[in-house]
């Protein structure tokens, strides 16, 4: 027997499992106030998932508002859609618009790595699709526990196979991302997924249900028992150190169905026969029905008996909470329903009219002829609880910041420096990631101009005009731990720089804010500081935040992850043939360093690898300088000045030299400038620096450009010979064969995983 509205009225004092569903006492009370009675069990299910942290952003909302207060203007024009839609949309010119977004799928990926990661990709792709865009690429910033931890051998291969298994089968090139290891991610790996899509301006679709009498169509996969309560039970709670596995809450993905859904949906958009469309992700039907109705101008009536089920024993509560994947909901005018069904039939996609838009302002849901849900949709979707969680700078922050790396023993002789280079390239965070990225298809669709290990991924969007977009995602959680405000800005600056280094102009950002428990005031402080840093940073750079995602509760017992505000920056390039790759190309090219190097080793890769040390203050951020440096890089690229360009980040100059050399097995000889400390010059992680190479004889052009941008340019060497005998030489210090560096660099991941 289903718990109907009538029944709820008759049994006002019936005990309800609100606590088990993740609701707090005052939240349950508020539901009773809104409805003027106790909720039915179906209503309780809806409210519990929609008011979960994951869906309602109840702990972050008051802070995230600062993003929407930013100017909605990008350096190349106004946003066509901003925060609040499924994904932000940017006008990139020539009638094209681009939409992109980054989301987390952290908790499911720990419980069930393959399916968790796979459905993370699937979810973000549907968000992009729902905007009316063709998804054209994905990226995956991933974070794991120590490479040598036994559980990493379970989580890492599963996550990578899941990302690849789903994305490859969808035919979306994977063009970048990150793979980072730190002990704080051991029980809380981070699986973030970014998708980018392209559309013509006129094809933009926003999710809302309008027009009484319009039909509500559920299409895609049938609804099963997978992922029930995923957002409330999994994503909105801290893992107990020794609690039971939460596997039943993880969804199961079917990428083939999603591929059909993409082609089918794009054809439906083309035909111009939908009024509103929404993907079903977290909170499933509860979310889609309430959000569509809430954003529209009427009510909605849905008959749950019509929902196609994989399991006929599912209760109405379960149907409403199921997070079965590969489902979409469309609002279609009655005279277009036949045409809609025909397209679905062509693609073998199941489509069912399950309800219609109504005149009223209620969301009504029936089951076996009786009403089981009768709610104002806004109270479910948009007027959830809002918390002003207490936050306070932790008392340990001063101690961490005063524990500077100055006292750490530094290598001094050439031999010691050479040993340090080899140790650094063989460390998990700086080693070769191709074991991961070779499991992703980076070529499909034939428009991947740049892909990992390049600084940014770049996709051509018009073969005739060569218009393209570039994307980079970055975050150094160690810096964010030392100072979350500066750390967030450093993440922003790095992603911004990576896009500019490729030759594209950075225009907008999306962020995925991964933190510990918001119920811990220290974590909440980290979060508010990171937001403040991003807001100030975006103001300075003129790049709006187009949307993103917050993931809290990345915490096992008392151990929170490093604060990890991952920033994705989107750039636009008018002519992708002018892109700049990272690899040294031609013997005799001059090698220059742009930017200034200071003694900044706190939080650096060296401090971690050599001393397992994390203390002090992160490198200084100068966003005005970042902007001038970006202009220098973009102008130089358009003029065809650079043979290569590579951002300096983790591992400093040495790592950039190694990566630029190994890309095409081309050596390099570096002459350190007069008077510098070789160790600091080679390993400092000062921000705002780029390693460039350019044809001999072009130096004057570079110097002119650098002077105009007030960017320091220092000639530091020359590109060497290619081939098996290539070497990386730092004059007066050391010389290492590239083959020796490569062996050390390639070994760690395969060795740790025993493959």
């Amino acid at each position: 027997m289903a718990d109907t509205v009538d029944n709820a009225l008759k049994t006002p004092d019936l005990g309800q499992p609100w606590a088990e569903l993740g609701l707090k006492p005052d939240e349950y009370e508020r539901i009773r106030e809104i409805l003027g009675r106790r909720p039915t069990s179906s209503e309780l299910a809806m409210y519990s998932v929609m008011w979960s942290e994951h869906c309602s952003y109840k702990s972050s909302k008051v802070h995230l508002r600062k993003f929407s207060e930013l100017s909605q203007e990008t350096p190349i024009g106004k946003l066509l859609a901003g925060i609040g839609e499924n994904a932000g949309v940017i006008d990139v010119g020539q009638g094209y618009a681009v939409t992109f977004k980054i989301e987390s799928h952290n908790h499911p990926s720990y419980v069930e790595p393959y399916q968790g990661a796979a459905t993370g990709v699937g979810g973000i792709v549907r968000d992009i699709l729902a905007m009316g865009a063709r998804p054209i690429g994905v990226m995956d910033p991933l974070r794991f526990g120590p490479l040598d931890a036994p559980d990493t051998a379970r989580v890492l291969p599963g996550v990578v196979a899941g990302v690849g298994g789903y994305g490859n089968c969808l035919g979306l090139p994977n063009i970048g991302g990150e793979v980072v290891f730190d002990k704080t991610y051991l029980g809380n790996p981070l699986v973030n997924a970014l998708c980018v899509g392209v559309l013509r301006h006129e094809d933009l679709h926003l999710a809302h249900a309008t027009g009484a009498g319009n039909k509500v169509i559920l299409y895609g996969a049938a609804t099963g028992g997978d992922g029930i309560g995923g957002v409330s039970v999994l994503a909105s709670e801290t893992f107990d150190a020794d609690g039971p596995a939460k596997r039943p809450s993880v969804q199961v993905g079917d990428p083939f169905m999603e591929k059909l859904l993409i082609e089918c949906t794009l054809e439906i958009f083309q035909a111009g026969i939908v009024s509103g469309i929404q993907d079903l992700g977290g909170a499933g039907l509860s979310c889609a029905t309430s959000e569509l109705a809430s954003a529209g101008d009427g009510g909605m009536h849905v008959d749950l008996d019509l929902v196609p089920l994989r399991d006929s024993t599912l209760s109405p509560e379960e149907i409403l909470m199921s997070e079965s994947q590969e489902r979409m909901m469309a609002v279609v005018e009655p005279h277009n329903v036949d045409a809609f069904m025909k397209i679905c039939e062509k693609w073998d996609v199941l489509a069912t009219v399950v309800g219609e838009v109504t005149d009223g302002d209620r969301l009504l849901i029936d089951w076996h002829g009786e009403t089981v849900v009768d709610v104002p949709p806004r109270t479910v979707a948009h007027e959830g609880p809002v918390y002003n969680r207490p936050y306070a700078r932790p008392d340990w922050q001063d101690r961490v910041q005063s524990d500077t790396p100055e006292s750490l023993a530094r290598p001094s002789s050439g031999a010691e420096l050479a040993q340090t280079v080899l140790a650094m390239v063989a460390s998990p965070n700086l080693c070769d990631k191709s074991w991961v990225t070779n499991q992703y298809d980076r070529y499909v669709r034939g428009n991947s101009v740049l892909a990992q290990p390049e600084d940014a991924g770049m996709l051509r969007i018009d073969e005739e005009t060569q218009l393209g977009v570039a994307l980079a995602t970055d975050c150094n959680g160690r810096f964010a731990y030392l100072d979350p405000y500066a750390g967030a800005q450093l993440a922003l600056a790095e992603a911004y720089r990576n896009v500019a280094v490729s030759g594209a102009r950075p225009v907008a950002i999306s962020d995925c804010l991964n933190f510990g428990s918001p119920e811990d005031p220290s974590v909440m402080w980290q979060f508010t500081e990171a937001i403040r840093g991003l807001v100030d940073g975006c103001k300075a750079l003129g790049t709006p935040v187009t949307g993103g995602n917050v993931s809290f509760y990345n915490q096992t017992a008392e151990t929170a992850i490093l604060p990890t505000p991952v920033v994705g920056v989107l750039g636009v390039i008018d002519d992708v043939t002018k892109r700049t790759p990272i690899g040294f190309a031609t013997e005799g090219d001059e090698v220059w360093l742009l930017g200034d190097t200071r003694d900044e080793l706190a939080g650096s890769a060296w401090a971690e690898v050599a001393h397992d040390h994390l203390g002090g203050l992160p490198p200084t951020v100068d966003l005005d300088h970042e902007q001038r440096l970006a202009t220098t890089m973009i102008t130089g690229a358009a003029a065809g000045l650079w043979s290569s360009a590579h951002d300096l980040a983790d591992g400093g100059l040495t790592q950039a030299l190694v990566e630029s050399s190994l890309r095409r097995d081309v050596g390099v000889t570096v002459t350190l400038p007069e008077g510098v400390d070789p160790f600091v010059y080679l390993f400092s992680e000062s921000a705002g620096r780029v390693l460039v190479s350019l044809p001999a004889g072009s130096a004057a052009q570079l110097q002119e450009l650098a002077a105009a941008g007030q960017v320091t340019a220092t000639r530091i060497g020359v590109v060497g010979s290619a081939g098996p005998d290539a070497v990386l030489t730092v004059e007066d210090q050391f010389s290492l064969a590239l083959s020796e560096i490569r062996d050390a660099w390639q070994a760690p991941i395969p060795a740790a995983l025993g493959v």
Binding site: P157, A161, G164, G165, N168, C169, L170, G171, D254, P255, F256, M257, K259, L260, K346, W347, D348, T437, N438, Q439, Y440, D441, R442, Y443, V444, R445, G446, N447, S448, V449, R460, E463, V576, T577, V755
Partner: protein
């Protein structure tokens, strides 16, 4: 008039637009074909593209092989029409028994995406005539189930009849018997291979231009025939 070359889209095909582009760049007229139609639309050659048709759920290519378009394709192939199967297309050709053997899960157990070196072992097919015998080329390889297997007798016959068209070099990426990357039927008009020549026709997006010769070869073949 440029020869018309068809590319079949099955549910789950992914590299169909790439194959159409490669046909166009080679100078032929690309013609999209739909799996559910029992017609080849008058094309002179057909490419079965890469992807995960029907999700590869039953066995790669096992369901697509029964598409209405395949009946027409099998007839046309029997009459000598050039047919190229790339990756999933190769798997479909094996399932359809237009080519012998089968493709199984990579021995490394993971999906592999890399720029793969291979040697052209036969230039006696309409898809490889523009290469030099023994030429070393680099072509994008990307698959999870690319291990070519067949019984000893079949392998010996393929070798003896010069029907191994491409062979992996510098390391076998997926456990294929005898390093076989691509084969042809007896007549030579039907060729299947795991690597993706359509991703190697544009210097901006591919690691080489070695894929171009596949498409110019067949274009020449078709032009000469006309």
């Amino acid at each position: 008039m440029a020869p018309r070359i068809g590319v079949v889209t099955f549910p789950g095909s992914l590299d169909d637009s790439d194959a159409l582009r490669a046909v166009r760049l080679a100078g032929a007229e690309p013609v999209p074909l739909w799996h559910a139609n029992d017609t080849l639309d008058g094309v002179s050659a057909v490419i079965l593209p890469g992807g995960f048709s029907y999700g590869d759920y039953l066995r790669c290519g096992a369901i697509s092989r029964f598409s209405p378009v395949m009946d027409e394709l099998i007839k046309a192939a029997g009459a000598g029409m050039p047919v190229l199967g790339i990756c999933n297309g190769f798997q479909i050709l094996c399932e359809a028994h237009l080519l012998p053997g089968a493709l199984i899960r990579n021995d490394v157990r993971t999906f592999v995406c890399k720029d793969q070196a291979m040697r052209v072992e036969s230039v006696d097919t309409p898809w490889s005539s523009h290469f030099e015998q023994g030429q070393e080329i680099t072509i994008v390889l990307k698959n999870g189930e690319g291990g070519y297997v067949a019984d000893q007798g079949t392998l010996d016959r393929l070798e003896g009849e010069g029907r191994v068209v491409f062979r992996y070099l510098h390391g076998n990426p997926n456990g294929s018997y005898r390093d076989i990357a691509g084969i042809s039927n007896e007549r030579g008009n039907v060729v299947g291979l795991m690597p993706h020549p359509e991703h190697n026709v544009d210097p901006l997006t591919g690691p080489s231009l070695d894929g171009t010769a596949f498409f110019t070869s067949v274009l020449d073949f078709l032009t000469a025939k006309v």
